[in-house]
Symmetry: C2
Subunit: 325 residues, 2 copies
């Protein structure tokens, strides 16, 4: 069945869509009350964030827009040293979208939320003209367990850990769009366990960031700027799968600027580096983690190349890949 | 200047847009940190909600999409007996949108947030193909000061107060679309003061709801359903401005099904009715408030007509006016 403009009216059809799709899958006592707002008990200091998702195609190897929408917000909360607790979900559906497709996306969101230990407690649905697409906004609340983790917290001597291979999400989306058949799947995943492992092990974590739009290059530049330090990374140490490397070589792409949806960096005290690496590797999503560089005095990001040269790594200029997340 | 896909890349241009437009206007110490999440101290029980806004045209008499996006979420929080505190804002901008237009919307959001006493503490920007439009999602957190207000809390004998004239927002949007020149302006407004007046005065409020998409008819049906009661309203008592009444007569519209963006109902204990009406009227946005009906045993919504007949008022079927908010 196709969704038409009546489903966005706020009347009978909107109610049916909410009941038959969203409440059915997101089902929990808070959401089910259908009040104007969810009512929650939270304690202490919270992390609060939002992200919109506009990826095309909606379904790709390794996930779909719904999985992205839950992971993206769960990860933003986790990176602040918070345990993700509650999400909201706002759907903007284009006329002509398949009801079954929307339900399949909602089902994935429910499964991913379960894995990440969060409840979807409030939602909203709008319908607009278009070609059957869907945009999803999620916001999220988490309870902070370690409060001083910050993009401005990097200190000279710190060690940078990357949780795994770069470029998988970007390469998977681009492959779908170009109709290239390969085995590359998006790395889209919730990173709450990696973050929690680090904190549970008492690692002195100074900064965590998920490596999404703009790629590792952009994230590291933000860290250098905000912390007033320079970053050195080692080309040899940065993990990229053989398939993605081949894909990049053919298309002239640089994994440093490619988007990921299940990768993070943790910038930790030098003496905690090896313990931190072990903590990250305990999660299946961190199995291929590496120490990739250090924080130094100065400014900007530099990479020691395989040939022992050194080059400046700037932020992403231009468009990268549009609608990557 | 026109916004193109590079502004959604997560790189340099996204950063410029955030700095030059959003940080400039939303400017506050929490947002300015630009972490993956905002860090907040909240206490006790909170209300948490989300809403997406897709209204066309983006600018209309009485407001724009940015004013709607702040008021909508502020109102959803206020209706739960909460003091609105923090908002997030997610922008999905269509390619070709004017940077000046986006800035003008952001400016209105900042002004409205100031009026409502809330801070915009986290945001996100995406760019998609299209014709220069914009979608905005807001989520919000409020601190609950009276915890038992609920759409399922209406009790037999309760009195229903409507905060003012019906239909203004709907008629204003429709006038813009049809190119009809008239004086009708959207009623778009934050309702936090009306809600707070009621609670400050110690009124026994059982239910509050803003009267948006689906109109008064749909809201009252939800209250009747969820509370297991019936609703009686009095046609004579329902305020509609002369301009909107004329507009409705010509186009065959029923104000009961028209969307509002600055109107609410409060369902209160019978003996508190007159005090409650005074509390609502103390806010300029409630100056034309009326007692419009009562809660009774039974089910459904009935209206006593001007001719002393009675008719059943059902929820909105069909599309109402698409993209009204």
């Amino acid at each position: 069945m196709k969704i038409d403009m009546t489903y966005g009216s706020g009347g009978k059809q909107t109610g049916d869509l909410i009941n038959q799709v969203f409440l059915k899958h997101f089902n929990n006592p808070i959401l089910n009350k259908l009040e104007d707002s969810a009512v929650l008990s939270v304690s202490g200091t919270i992390a609060y964030t939002t992200d919109s998702f506009v990826v095309t195609p909606l379904f790709f190897k390794g996930g779909n827009i719904g999985k992205l929408a839950v992971c993206g917000t769960v990860n933003d909360l986790s990176m602040m040293g918070a345990i993700p607790k509650y999400l909201t979900a706002g759907f903007i559906i284009e006329e002509g979208a398949d009801l079954e497709m929307v339900e399949s996306i909602a089902k994935t969101m429910a499964l991913t939320a379960k894995e990440a230990g969060v409840f979807i407690v409030a939602g909203d649905t709008k319908v607009v003209e278009g070609n059957g697409g869907i945009f999803i906004n999620t916001s999220g609340i988490g309870e902070i367990i370690k409060g001083d983790i910050s993009i401005s917290g990097c200190k000279q001597g710190d060690v940078i850990i990357l949780s795994g291979n770069l470029g998988d999400h970007h390469a998977a989306i681009l492959s779908e769009r170009m109709g290239i058949e390969n085995e590359i799947a998006s790395d889209c995943a919730p990173l709450h366990t990696i973050a929690k492992n680090l904190l549970d092990d008492g690692i002195e974590v100074h900064c965590m960031r998920d490596v999404t739009r703009g790629g590792l290059a952009t994230v590291l530049n933000e860290a250098a700027d905000q912390s007033g330090v320079s970053v050195e990374i080692w080309e040899d140490a940065i993990p990229v799968s053989r398939e993605v490397k081949g894909f990049c070589d053919i298309l002239g792409l640089d994994p440093l600027y490619m988007a990921n949806e299940g990768k993070m960096i943790a910038i930790v005290k030098e003496t905690d580096a090896n313990e931190a690496l072990e903590a990250v590797k305990r999660s299946p999503y961190g199995a291929n983690a590496r120490i990739i560089g250090t924080i130094q005095e100065g400014k900007g990001v530099r990479m020691k190349t395989k040939l022992m040269g050194s080059r400046t790594i700037d932020v992403l200029y231009g468009e990268g890949l549009p609608r990557i997340c």
